[in-house]
Point group: D2
């Protein structure tokens, strides 16, 4: 199999950097084009990018001339576009690329709730890829858009999947402690967050509350029937560099045992594991037994950031129908760039690429 | 009215320092004795204490010779003991002082669940002071012990009180982000928490889940009938200096409107306000309208740390019976030292002192 | 004496907020006008400003309508303008105000090295105020500009003044650890500084190396002869909220004893102390004996942030001519807003106002 | 060549963990024994250790039963002991092991200034290994002790070596910003350092001022003649996780050009590079051209933490004899564990092992 040609749009941002890093050593993809904003365009990538974590860029990628992402009118020798750009720009770039026949795997939030655009977490809902065919038909073009979810929704839905294999859920309540990298490099002034907590992230609760039922929904007769449980989220920004921590409180429809849940989580594997995809972690969920885990500093890079780490799975005193646990995921990798690459791999495995 | 003589046990610890600070300018109390561990005993207080925040100690208190708290066999010319010591020591010191006729207002966790020991949040359950008489009778001594609650329970119960005036509660779910000062000066190594979150605080969830129903319980026929709602807590330690932040999700027995709740909170006053007690904040609950408040850095010292600050009061999408909000309180002041002093004031007002 | 009318330009920035705070309770000045950027203009100050520290704004100041600082063509009933604006704007606003007869006390860096513009640290070089007369004459207007220095230079020069009363200095070497507030509220992304150090602050070393000799220079025959010692600075940004910490290594022209230096520092008073000016700290230099002081968290607000705190004054092993010490100052107060107000007071005392 | 058998004393501490990590994949050494304090003794290493950074322990090392380091009377089938224990214990353990014929490579500070004990930075002073023979003769035993230096001295001396190849130095002045990991896991309470700076580290300045002249001294006639330049240090603890940052101000005996110094640094290689030792970084000094580098977050792991990173090499305005630069090194790796392993390799290369 010859390698597929990949382009990254928004290559200098935090998610873009992680895409470059993952794809630079990927067995199936070659990075051939990098797009960024006008001020980076024309520069070599190694000159345009300001790495947020230390990482030695392979010479060949560093030498690529960055193209301006605002002009996507050209014809590109590219098999797949990875998009990690703000929603306002994605709004016109992504459909335009799809219209012209390209495959777009996108981390931006726009169009996630579109009926024909699947949000894919490869271990959770690979059957939703079927929407692609409907998207192609309805739009009458061979290109298409697939979305990763909101970073917190990605982590949450993966942790919920094995539970949904055991029981039906009535309601989940979620409190998040999200790292500063989730806001982008310039997103959060240090004066605002050093030694502080901000109990609010604009639009974040809405995204999670909307996307989660779609991701965990049933694909049926060409439509996704959203999962029917209630969901209520409260989001907080905390002075942590990377990794989103989530407190989950779950109300099942019937009694459920924490020990069984922990076991179901740690033995859970999905299609990426069965297909042995290159970016798939051996197990997507690590369950820690220690009372004080997960922790961002210790667990954010578990299995290269592709595994989420769960701890403190326990019933509460109110009822055996109630369960609570803590889950941590790398917002940059599992929450964005890593899942995008995993989607590309599963698209390839299923001949969408 | 001549001033009452106050002693502080555990005067060099973080809560002890806050007790000194509040009492040093108090119109009703004079600090006459300071007790601490053996290694401080014999030194002047100004030499024994290592202030954790800058504060200019009044000369007279600084000159007091610290006494060893392990020997409390003496006879003291003291009207009230404020105790801010670890539970293992409090276990024998506090009952011994009570037995010998002294009044003990204590921040330690031991004996909080004792049937005859009231946990008092003066704005919330001043009627529980009645337990003191039963404690005296049952133990056959004039001295007695009154407890402040766990710091998080203090903040929570105060925020819940005006809601309970509006509706009955079915269940509350609580996720906390607690500051490092809650662990004591030496409690948390910097290597453990810098840029990190620890999703666990030993025994904390149990304390909150036990104490809250007692505080909000009904005093009836000489007993406290615990409040009947369910409560489930998940506690987290975050790299914040002072101030505990709490995400509250509440399920009421009937529909409840967030706007009414916010109004009930901000107009709420309790007995300390009615009695115009010296340490009582003008309003015990401040409700902020901005979406991104409260924040520890900005709000921890609201009304000298005696007001809790609530924000984001809102219904959720699941049902009008569901309400969520964020609340911040100063764990050192409202959560410990300030409430202890407010208890002393209400004891005085009701002639227990 | 009736109160003087003060205006603040750049009133919503961090230094502007500190000016408002200090002036709001000032016995000599009334804040009558507030100027800020176009996006704040027209709003009430209480709506335009986003406090970076909690502070209760007096109602009367909060009600002032913010004016647009880009239009200063009006005629104002103002006795003194405090300017805390970026240099690019100050470049034209400040001379224009002076030209039209107003007194401008400015925290911006532009014009500091102008021959006729004095940089004043009231305890250090009040005799440089004489330059004002020369400025007026040369520019042929009654208005004038006086500058505070760079924040680090303010702290440094105050610490050096009592040493220069004892000995001549050959060279000083300075390593700074500067807090994030020095960069302005939006100046430093949290991703750049959380758990990190940036060993560079643009133009900062140059400013300190230029301004210090001017401040400590000799006013003689209508000119300032810069102080003749060498100075070499290396600046670092650290994850501290407020307060600049400085390591000073000093090479005197002759032997000098650390004990005498410490004594000279702690007994030092300047003209503001002799005149008992309202904002003057009782002693401008506090010398701590503990080996581990000063510390930003503990010492930044010493004497309302107007005192600098010195520690670890010691000779080194190389030679008795070498001395080293640590000094901390509040960059917002002593380094900017507080010194500006102190300048206004000394101007008033000397009838320049 | 069969592998040498290595033991680690103090295996559960921060430096011990780094020794385990480096040695676990080492081509020349096998970890066969692990020693720690009494409370770890008897447990499997994987149960006794609490990793401070996430790291997957190889199964075979994790299964080793930890032995009590207080009893070293046994006879061990060990070729080299790596010691990373507190000085009070090292005082008797290390000489005892040497007396009984073992080779001890030690990170503890005791005995560093002993005339017969070399402090080795393999790129800087490998010729000092000759002291080993004198140690053996004088103590009449085949075993011996070699020391790594204080972590800051290790970083500093490596940065100075290429400069000393260019010019003679009159004096160096050093201001450090040291990370919390340097104090050990429990060394620094979070309340002391969060958002703060402590301008003092006990005994640290003395160690650096003593060790540096020894490391950079001339081995001559069986003795080390200490380097003759003056040195003055001021140490600060900052809220950084790992990596020590150092501001260096250097006074050369003659004029020296910053560009030449930068070139000499980046082209510098030492014996470990020439011998191609397994742990030797390709270049021990990386020189960054950007004005804002090095930074702990970005540069602490450069070349696996074995390279130091230098930036801002520049002359100052006082004189061309004056030079300043910033240098960062990983205190755990280059400052301790990595250098210890590099010493073992050079000992092996020279048949001391």
């Amino acid at each position: 199999m010859s390698k597929l040609k990949a382009a990254i749009i928004g290559a200098t941002g935090l998610v873009g950097q992680n895409l470059v890093k993952i794809l630079s050593k990927h067995p199936w993809f070659d990075v051939v084009s990098l797009f960024a904003s006008r001020k980076s365009a024309g520069k070599k990538y190694c000159e345009a990018v300001k790495w947020y974590r230390d990482y030695s860029l392979p010479d060949d990628i560093g030498e690529i001339r960055v193209e301006c992402m605002e002009n996507v009118e050209g014809s590109y020798d590219v098999d797949v576009f990875f998009s990690a750009i703000p929603s306002d720009i994605a709004t016109y770039i992504e459909p335009e690329l799809a219209r012209r026949g390209y495959v777009v795997i996108s981390d931006s939030s726009i169009y996630r709730m579109d009926d024909y655009v699947p949000i894919i977490i490869p271990e959770v809902n690979p059957d939703h890829l079927e929407l692609i065919n409907m998207q192609r038909t309805s739009r009458n073009c061979s290109g298409f858009i697939v979305k990763t979810s909101n970073c917190t929704a990605a982590i949450l839905s993966l942790s919920l999947k094995p539970i949904l294999n055991l029981t039906r859920i009535e309601r989940i309540i979620v409190s998040t402690m999200q790292s500063i990298s989730g806001a982008g490099y310039l997103g959060l002034p240090s004066m605002a967050i050093l030694g502080n907590i901000i109990p609010y992230i604009e639009n974040e609760e809405e995204k999670i509350e909307q996307e989660l039922p779609k991701i965990l929904g049933l694909f049926c007769n060409g439509k996704i029937l959203p999962a029917q449980f209630g969901i209520s989220v409260s989001c907080n920004r905390v002075p942590v560099y990377e990794g989103h921590m989530i407190n989950v409180f779950l109300e099942a429809k019937s009694e459920i045992d924490a020990i069984n849940v922990a076991k179901a989580m740690e033995t859970f594997i999905g299609l990426p594991q069965k297909l042995n995809l290159p970016t798939a972690p051996q197990r997507p969920i690590i369950v820690r037994k220690e009372p004080d885990r997960p922790q961002p500093v210790l667990d954010k890079d578990a299995l290269n950031g592709m595994a989420i780490v769960v701890g403190r799975v326990r019933n509460d005193n109110i009822s055996k129908r109630y369960l609570k646990y803590v889950v941590l995921g790398n917002n940059m990798i599992r929450g964005a760039a890593g899942t995008a690459v995993l989607i590309a791999e599963i698209l390839r495995a299923y001949n969408f690429l």
